[in-house]
Symmetry: C2
Subunit: 458 residues, 2 copies
């Protein structure tokens, strides 16, 4: 820490500090230097990912991850650490899924498949039917009952590679996974299988949540790897009479108790005013959940570590929220928002990190134009570290329930090129996260928290 | 291609086009879409890297790469393809190098080492001596003759991890490799070994060019992997009497002829005015040279492919220069500049890509403030693709000799976090390049060439 800044801190209670801007640049430099030279965060990411793999809500792995996060925060010398309970859904995918192409002409071929999250199972006997390939909503509608009844719908609309921001490509293609089952059930389909939502060509199936319409039959829904999807599409061209055998034994187990984990450094001047930040600790049952979203948890815990390490004492209370259940029913976010409302807690801002641990370049800001403008004034402090984009936009699923309370919401935005190669699949392992890239995100969030703490957002 | 833009092109000869800005945005979008959805470039990168591994100047691999590039350009329907000859140095590292720690107390241990480029060999008998570890220039000076004579100097100053832009860390540490041998020879060292210039902890030694001072004895110079350097440093603390055995049989072979490869699309209005762009095709003999600099070659060849694919006819001649010998004596850059001068060729700009195939974020511009300002006016067109930084700064080694001719020089700037993990080492393989990241760079250069062609830089 530089002398001028210490002096400035010492004088802060007495008078406005002349060297405000120069000092801010020094603190931001210290924050980035600490993040880039310390290995605690990367070590924590490895532990979380390897010890609590598959920590979807309701599992022993999720419980273990919650206790681990609580113990980690408790070891950091914070002022407060506590659990925030809520009910979460529990589901189990059962035995390993089977997807098999049956063709008299081409022979039988196994496909790499997995059940979508919270889809019903086929039962142990499985389901066998002809396959109809669909690459757009329009095509589905045109096929209608005549083309679909009694068949398995194979959704095969690839993610569009031409978008710079791959979340756009995801947004256009995710209907297949999220709503494809009911859309096909409306026309009498017996099951659906969808191309994994990735631009990578590999043999990992990518799972993710799906939703049934209440008024339609619930049919089994699986994902197939992109390699499998391309093979299946090719075989269908050679033999349209192909049948597909699908077997999933997933089961719904109702609801159980789980927890958000909260840790705080109390504010020295306004302890009742809070800056909150977090990621979600749950991850799909087929993955280590490194980029989605072990990184977000680790980066936001890192904010508290860096504040303590640099001896920065916040004026307002700064709080990490390790959210449970982002993937399924967003109960952690709902519980947190309900608690904020019940306690009438004042929040200066809430920040989420849930877009992967790649080199960050800005924040998406869900707030008034005045607040967006104020944050843009800090651009010159962060641009030397590649953080240049501060734009109006959506924030994060875990904090969105705070929106009705008019709390400024921010999301860290990172380079999205590689994100969907990993999301919701067994390939999302800790070693796919590059430590410097993750730590630039930790430092970006810490810097924004530091600036909000000093200057507010109003 | 959009109708409005075709219309605009058609009218361009008759009058200024009203829709200039809107059309530019459309063309830039088309350029990025083409780059992100076509696989030619990545396939070319793989071929270059796997077929012509270790293509340092003077080798058969370098010759093969030149012929390959010539054939590739000749297959693209360009207006001109030709070779530009020059003399290049030739050197051979000989047999696999040996580095062995000899310690009565700790036992003997092999280290992962390689000769630095153009260093003299130890001869087949090798050299054995005590080791003195040095982590700064100051420390070297203090040790002086008394501490160094007859010993091997072990340079072990790590790259500083706290810089955002890792080329800064490299710039601070590269003296050990580039000038360390002569600095130590001044005090009577018998050889030097330097910590590889990477922040990664792995067992790859990283080579690179080194230079001898004319007035001092030439002593052998090797690199050791960071894992090896950390081990050696630890062993020295336990047993300062450790000896090191080093053996290299490298040999200088004088000079031979090699070539730049040049390909052009002739300008429709001002064919004698040129926009040049390129990367260097040579790569160290221990690597595939993917990020350094297969990517630069491929990205700049891609500019021509995209112009042709989209049917964009340039007003000025656009020219790719596939440079030979960036790594050693920069003879390709010198030959190109000499030719420009001799032919009195007018260049609107020269652009180099030689900073790795990672997600790009801007251009470093070596030009007048007015030119920098003009390029900044195009920011709004490129910012949607993450290209936001257009700053005054250095360009590239291959084009720097054009500076005295007052040609505006630009370098593509990409995310540098991972670059030095690979540079000059066996780990710089084609699969370490992520296709979308590389192609964003291809599109960024193509877009800038398109804009310079339309609006100039004056």
């Amino acid at each position: 820490m530089r002398f001028t800044w210490i002096l400035c801190l010492a004088l802060a209670g007495l008078s406005a500090c002349n060297n405000e801007k120069a000092n801010d640049a020094d603190v931001v430099k210290d924050i980035f230097s600490e993040a880039l030279s310390d290995t605690t965060a990367y070590s924590n990411l490895k532990t979380l990912c390897t010890r609590y793999e598959g920590r979807i809500c309701g599992t022993a792995e999720a419980d273990g991850a919650v206790r681990w996060a609580e113990a980690l925060l408790s070891s950091m010398g914070l002022d407060t650490v506590y659990l925030q309970p809520m009910m979460v859904p529990k589901w189990n995918r059962g035995e390993e899924e089977v997807g098999k192409v049956l063709s008299a002409a081409l022979g039988d071929h196994l496909l790499s498949v997995c059940a979508l999250g919270w889809a019903v199972g086929t039962g142990p006997e499985g389901v066998t039917a002809e396959v109809v390939e669909v690459t757009s909503k329009d095509q589905l509608e045109k096929l209608g009952d005549a083309g679909i009844r009694g068949k398995i719908v194979f959704y095969n609309q690839p993610m569009d590679p031409t978008h710079y921001y791959t979340f756009e490509s995801y947004g256009e293609a995710v209907w297949q996974r999220a709503r494809g089952a009911s859309m096909a059930a409306r026309y009498g389909a017996v099951a659906v299988i969808n191309r994994s939502l990735t631009m990578a060509s590999d043999d990992y199936p990518h799972t993710g949540i799906m939703h049934y319409a209440d008024t339609l039959p619930k049919i089994p829904a699986l994902a197939v790897s992109t390699v499998g999807a391309d093979s299946l599409s090719g075989w269908l061209k050679k033999d349209p009479a192909i049948k597909l055998f699908l077997r999933t034994t997933s089961q719904d187990h109702g609801e159980v108790t789980s927890y958000n984990v909260i840790g705080e450094i109390r504010g020295s001047e306004k302890p009742d005013e809070i800056i909150a930040f977090g990621g979600h600790i749950d991850a799909w049952d087929n993955t280590q959940g490194a980029h989605d979203d072990g990184v977000g948890v680790i980066q936001t815990i890192e904010v508290l570590r860096i504040f303590k390490k640099l001896g920065i004492r916040p004026k307002h209370t700064i709080r990490v929220v390790v959210f449970m259940d982002e993937e399924v029913a967003q109960r952690g976010g709902a519980a947190y928002a309900a608690s904020v409302k019940a306690k009438n807690e004042k929040h200066l801002a809430a920040i989420e990190s849930d877009r992967g641990g790649f080199t960050p370049y800005g924040f998406s800001i869900d707030a008034s134009p005045m607040t967006v403008g104020k944050i843009n004034n800090w651009k010159k402090l962060l641009e030397p570290y590649g953080i240049w984009s501060f734009k109006k936009g959506g924030s994060g699923v875990d904090i969105r329930d705070l929106q009705p309370m008019n709390i400024p919401l921010l999301a860290l935005v990172s380079d999205s090129q590689r994100y969907f190669d990993y999301q919701h699949s067994p390939s999302d392992t800790w070693d796919k996260v590059y430590p410097r890239e993750m730590q630039l995100g930790s430092a970006a969030i810490t810097s924004i928290v530091f600036l909000i703490d000093n200057y507010g957002l109003e």
